[in-house]
Symmetry: C2
Subunit: 215 residues, 2 copies
C-alpha cells in the first residue's frame, strides 16, 4: 500500500510564528516529517506480512528526504486526489499528514484495522489527519471541516466509513499550544528538537503551556 | 468496579463564560454529566459478564441525579483519593471526568482493556481525563500537568501504567473551541443541547469554529 505524506515545504507552520522564526519553523516541520516517516517505516517492518507500506512525500517544493518525493504545488486537495485509487483494481492508499508528531507505529497501525472502504482519523478542529482509501470513488476535500465533508463524500458514493479514535493521530501541530502535547507525549526526534530549542513545560497557575528559554 | 464521576456543581465551566451565561453553563455541565453516565451504564450492560460498573457522582454540592451522589467540597485531588483502593484487597476504581462529552461506550470500554495496575486516558493540555486504578498505593494529583505526575507516581510505587490513546476520552470540554468537537463528534444529548442553544459550525476563512445564533 502506498502511504502518501503531504508536506508543505514552503512557508511551513505559519501559525507557530509567535514562538519560532521562519528557519526554525522549517526545521521543526522537517523534524516532524522525519518522525512520521520513521513511524511509518517501523510499522512497515512490523506488519510486512499483511501490508507493505511504501511512503512517498508529496511536497509543495523540493525537500531532501530518505523516501521518494513528488513535488506538486497545487492545493493539498488536488494533489492528494491525484494519488488516490482511480479505478476499481487500484491498490488502497493511505494519506498521513506530516505534522502528526505524536504518531507512533502502534497508533498508525490502527488506521489499517477497520475493514472499511474509507478509514478516517479525525483531527482536532474538524480536520482529517489520516486516511486509508480503498474505494476508487472517494475523493478528499481538505478545506474547512473536512472530517464532516469526508463523511458526507463516503456516504454519497456508498463507501462505508471507519473512524479511528486516537489522541495521537488526532493531534496535528499547528499552534503553540500543540507543542505541549509534543513535549509530553512525543517519542521521536521532535520533542528532543523542542528541548534543544529551549522549550519546556510551565505549569504556573494550574494551566499547562510551553515556555521558551531566551538563552 | 466502582466508577467515580467527579462533578463541579458550583460555578461549573467558567472558561465557557465568553459564550454562555452562568445558568447555561450549569445546564450544559449537567447535560454532559448525563451523557457520561449514560455511556457508563450502556457499557455496564454490554460488559456485565466481565465487570459490573457502579457509577457514583462525586459532586462539590448536591446535584439531582439518577445515580448515587456523594458531596465533597474539598479539592478534586483530595476527594478522588478518598475513593481509590485503600488496601490490597480493595476493588479497582475507575475515575471518569463529567465533561467528556465525546465519551461513547466503545471509548470507555478501552479503559478496561490494558491489563495494567493503573490505566490513564490523557487529556489535551497535560490532563488526566480518565483512570482505572487497581493498585492501592497509587494516588492522584490533578494539579498542573497531571498526566506526567500520574506517570511519575505510578513509577514511584512500582505500578505499571497503561495509556489509552483516545481522541474521545482526550477531549474534555473547557473552552469555546472544545464545543467544535462536541458538535462534530458528540453522540448524546450534549450536541442537541448546543444546537438548541443556537450553536453551529462556521468554516469561514478555512478555520472551523462554533458560532452562536443571537436569535
Amino acid at each position: 500500500m502506498r502511504a502518501v505524506v503531504p508536506f508543505a515545504s514552503d512557508r511551513p507552520k505559519t501559525r507557530l510564528e509567535p514562538v519560532l522564526e521562519e528557519a526554525e519553523r522549517a526545521a521543526l516541520a522537517r523534524t516532524m516529517l522525519g518522525d512520521v516517516l520513521d513511524s511509518l517505516s517501523t510499522l512497515d517492518d512490523e506488519r510486512r506480512g499483511s501490508a507493505d507500506l511504501d511512503p512517498v512525500v508529496l511536497a509543495t517544493a523540493p525537500v531532501d528526504c530518505e523516501v521518494p518525493v513528488t513535488v506538486d504545488d497545487r492545493s493539498l486537495t488536488a494533489a492528494v486526489n491525484d494519488h488516490l485509487p482511480a479505478t476499481d483494481g487500484d491498490e488502497p492508499v493511505a494519506v498521513v499528514m506530516a505534522d502528526l508528531a505524536l504518531a507512533t507505529p502502534d497508533a498508525l497501525a490502527r488506521l489499517f484495522e477497520p475493514d472499511a472502504d474509507v478509514v478516517v482519523a479525525p483531527g482536532r478542529g474538524g480536520g482529517t489527519n489520516a486516511l486509508v482509501v480503498r474505494d476508487h470513488r472517494f475523493r478528499v476535500d481538505y478545506h474547512g471541516a473536512s472530517f464532516r465533508d469526508h463523511r458526507a463524500v463516503a456516504d454519497a458514493v456508498g463507501a462505508d466509513l471507519g473512524v479511528v479514535d486516537s489522541f495521537r493521530l488526532g493531534t496535528d501541530v499547528d499552534e503553540p499550544a500543540d507543542l505541549v502535547e509534543v513535549v509530553l507525549h512525543g517519542r521521536g526526534e521532535t520533542p528532543a528538537w523542542l528541548r534543544e530549542a529551549g522549550f519546556s513545560l510551565s505549569t504556573t497557575d494550574g494551566r499547562v503551556e510551553v515556555v521558551r528559554n531566551p538563552g
